[in-house]
Symmetry: C2
């Protein structure tokens, strides 16, 4: 038995998939970590629904790992841990995106550490890179693919021509989507993650309710097929950036040109790009959350907490939230195939200051389909044009709109 002074006692809340993976990983790596750090991490107790007492585990721990999920009782446990001047490591995006300010304040007052790498993008170390590598940098934008389930579904649709429903079913069968996929496919999971990233990158209070999100449920195989002809690939993008002294944080499906670094992120992978004038950009990518990935991210946080840097985020300063943004757009309309139709559509676009970058037109019986990509334009103006186009008598179904990300980097 090693003496107390060289042990680092880790209490674990929750015993699901991630809990079990973390337990196994910690046991496998404890000796190597002890040899390297001079402190050997050990599990001091595990709290499950049916077993263990929180106060008792807290008493015997230097750090609490929370893997329960949700906010009740996770918030209560988090605050009690930090107030007892113990470190708190969590994989819980709900907790951070809803109660971040409370938790940062509690950690700051107690001088304890609050770490949450595993809450955001699986194994992708976005939190550490923003908080440490770029601690001295002015960050302009953080954007990326932060939900593995939706990326798996979109990749499958693109590769096989499958419908959304078929691809979702495949994802469920392979364990990439839950039986109830709502949280992922609506974009809500990604919105929580973007709130956390934005809070950290910009030091402004951004919570889950501040982030508008759109999901992928209404994406069709046809959208994807047309877009392919235009050299575009569809991703669910989370974006947080400074705009005119304010902040824009959003989640939406968007087409990317093939030269875009995020266009190559396929399957259940996540990727986050952080842009700052000092460094241009850093892109981080890796598998989205799986049990062993999340466990590894949690362990990285535990080891960092064994060494005491004051990682805690300073109090947030409010910044205005901007929602009307300039963007390029894809527009798909089914119209009667007769002369003058394209001219009328083009006229409406022109009147709203929207200019066309590329167009694919295909006849289908008596109708035609128009798939268009627009140059960047203020979203409100583009939506106004689409509203007018939707009311034209020759338009056969509701126009479909998807953002296009047109920058390429190198």
């Amino acid at each position: 038995m090693t003496p107390n002074s060289s042990r680092f006692r880790v209490g674990v809340l929750g015993a699901g998939t991630v809990g079990a993976a973390f337990h196994a990983l910690l046991e496998a790596r404890a000796d190597a970590i002890g040899a390297e750090m001079g402190l050997r991490p050990e599990i001091s107790g595990v709290l499950t629904r049916s077993r263990g007492d929180f106060e008792d585990i807290l008493e015997r721990s230097d750090l609490i790992v929370e893997l329960i999920g949700g906010t009740d009782p996770a918030l209560e446990y988090a605050l009690r841990t930090l107030r007892a001047k113990r470190h708190f490591v969590t994989a819980n995006k709900q907790l951070l995106s809803r109660h971040g300010e409370e938790l940062f304040a509690a950690a700051g007052e107690a001088g304890a550490q609050l770490r949450f790498e595993a809450a955001v993008a699986g194994v992708v170390p976005a939190i550490r890179v923003i908080a440490e590598t770029l601690a001295g940098a002015h960050i302009e934008r953080v954007h990326g693919i932060v939900n593995g389930t939706t990326n798996f579904i979109l990749t499958a649709m693109e590769r096989t021509g499958a419908s959304y429903e078929e691809a979702l079913r495949e994802a469920q069968e392979l364990g990439y989507a839950e039986a109830d996929p709502t949280e992922d496919v609506t974009g809500r999971d990604a919105a929580a993650k973007m709130a956390i990233l934005a809070r950290l990158a910009f030091g402004a209070p951004v919570g889950l309710d501040d982030v508008p999100f759109e999901g992928i449920e209404s994406v069709t195989a046809e959208d994807i097929a047309y877009a392919r002809e235009l050299g575009l690939s569809l991703k669910l993008i989370g974006s947080a950036e400074r705009v005119d002294g304010g902040l824009s944080v959003q989640v939406y499906p968007a087409f990317l040109y093939s030269g875009h670094p995020l266009a190559a992120v396929n399957g259940s992978f996540n990727a986050v790009t952080i842009e700052s004038p000092d460094i241009t950009e850093i892109t981080l990518s890796g598998p989205g959350a799986g049990g062993s990935q999340t466990a590894s991210a949690v362990l990285g946080d535990v080891i960092s907490a064994m060494i005491p840097p004051p990682f805690n985020s300073p109090p947030a300063k409010p910044m205005p939230l901007v929602t009307d943004r300039e963007s390029a757009f894809y527009l798909h309309v089914e119209v009667a195939d007769r002369p003058g139709v394209l001219a009328q559509v083009a006229e409406i676009l022109g009147m709203q200051g929207v200019s066309l970058e590329s167009l694919v037109q295909k006849g289908i019986g008596e109708d035609a389909r128009l798939a268009m990509v627009m140059h960047p334009v203020l979203e409100s103006r583009f939506r106004a044009a689409v509203g007018l186009i939707g009311r034209l008598d020759f338009v056969r179904s509701a126009p479909r709109v998807i953002r296009v990300i047109s920058e390429t980097f190198e």
Copy 2:
């Protein structure tokens, strides 16, 4: 004037491009860092060839930033800094890859920090992710593109069909290559960086002299054009991995299939992929070293050193270095265009256990060119086959060999 207790005094050695960029960045960000960290970084002195005294600057500094380059007098300054229990931050890959063990030992004894993020891959935080995020993980492999100059040249050749000489000239005109590009184009710069990454990832003593390297000087526009037909793109790859209880660390040009994440890394960008069974992999990418990128990486290290974690690497344990590895290969041969030629080439390959994956054959007058991709095979066996093929009487010029990286990830 802020009181001494809230200042963090940074002495700078060297006043070239990076030194000036670091100075400017520090001044611009000092107030924000002070507000966040409770310690305001300030330049306490600058040593140039003609100005300043090292001992005097050291005396007045909490940390020394070394941006001189080379090992003399950088090594002497590094050791004197660490022995004086001051932190040492450097962008100097020569220093680390030649004298790493000495420096790690000195830092460990003094309890001072040695940080060197900027020495490896520009702004890409490979060092921090290996040493911190993955501190608890067992790393199997680190590989990537760690030289921006050669990646710029190869990208230009691929996009424009330019020759190596033309692309190098363009890189020089645009400031991506030095007037004397030897260090970059021979692969030696990448070898130094891979030695540093391998030392850190595997805890084994790996120095610059342990890393065999090949460069890109003999790559032809023709190789690149043929490979394109096979769906391949050429990169200068640095690779460090565990093999049979030993370690293989190498730098070589290699073809990548378009699905490979590194295939999409273009222009002067760098990227590093770290693989571990716990996490699958993490890929980090961003611009290779430029003045402001390097300055930003140095500032990230300075801020981390303001908070005192014992980041120092434990003593290295030797591991055998493996050089004969299994790999897929591209082979290009010019032969007389007559019956039986392909059969003889195929027979030699078969006798050495080399099997063909794909083949492009083109006639040019009385000769023909064969471009082939082989399935993975032990390098020594493949080289033996190539030796025999080169001696066949119908072979018109020396066969050309390039490795092919055939894994795809998602």
